[in-house]
Point group: C2
Chain length 199, copies 2
Amino acid sequence: MFTVYGMSDSGNCYKVRLALEQLAAPYRWIEVDSSRGETRTPEFLAMNANGKVPTLQLEDGTFLPESGAILYYLAEGSRLLPREREQRARVLQWMFFEQYSHEPYIAVARAIVRYQPPDSPRRAELPRLLERGTQALAVMERHLEHERFFVEQRYSIADIALYAYTHCAAEGGFDLSAYPAVQAWLERVKSHPRHVPLP
Amino acid sequence: MFTVYGMSDSGNCYKVRLALEQLAAPYRWIEVDSSRGETRTPEFLAMNANGKVPTLQLEDGTFLPESGAILYYLAEGSRLLPREREQRARVLQWMFFEQYSHEPYIAVARAIVRYQPPDSPRRAELPRLLERGTQALAVMERHLEHERFFVEQRYSIADIALYAYTHCAAEGGFDLSAYPAVQAWLERVKSHPRHVPLP
């Protein structure tokens, strides 16, 4: 059985939960609160020297960090990952896009709005985060105008990766009403069998 | 034959060049200068809506962006990517680490030092970039104290991805002398057959 070390409110951790649920894979979840320093203890750093959740404990007892790597590991050989080399690369394209051009703006804006006090100096970052996150949403909108899902018209881990922080982007101050194709895609993801919401 | 749309001085583009050279794959290189707006033209955005290099044109004429996805595509079935599912996931683990916890600090510090004028307000970002980039180097050092390469003691695209901006980190103000295991690994990468330097 897999063990997930994760923080329930984190979108990166939610990706792993959603994939495990949709694969009907048994797992246990160990809550780790990074805001209370629980990812910086010697015990946690021995599992993941980079001190981040999610970290997955595999069935052989070893640990695999990085949500993107975990999703790929779980999905290989399943219907959540295409079998063709080019289509697998396109799944990774959107997962790297998410981690580099989407999450650092859309997830970070949400984290600041949710967890920082109203007078936090970090709120000064919000205009830039909103500008860059809006660019990412525009890239998604353009793609989804002609596609049901991100790759090959089929639900995959690319959709899971992008759904996690897009569906709650309003919590960071993003207005999704300007992105009708993104909104329609969010509904398709949400209605996929065995969907579970962010806790 | 592949066509790379890339900027020669970019580490992300260098990763693709290095992989193609080491695979002895024929390719042509089309120089695209993002600092002159060449990634924001309608023609370029039709190839990659996210407006970034590198973008690889595949042999079927379609375009694949994101250096991580390109590396994975090129390496599948070659000695640059392990065949075992778990080891492939570990390669991706380090590639996602690079794009999320390394490149945004180490590459961005280098870009500011190299391309921004001495009075640029962006230089105010440097202390934070140095602090976070130093954390990434410490994670690498800890891993490489016991490993010849990042995954399974074998040179792979994880090494290519991490080499690109680590070997020139001094240009962004990082002092690599504190990381002897990283330095020894850089030498191993550099002496690998068919290595080519960053132009």
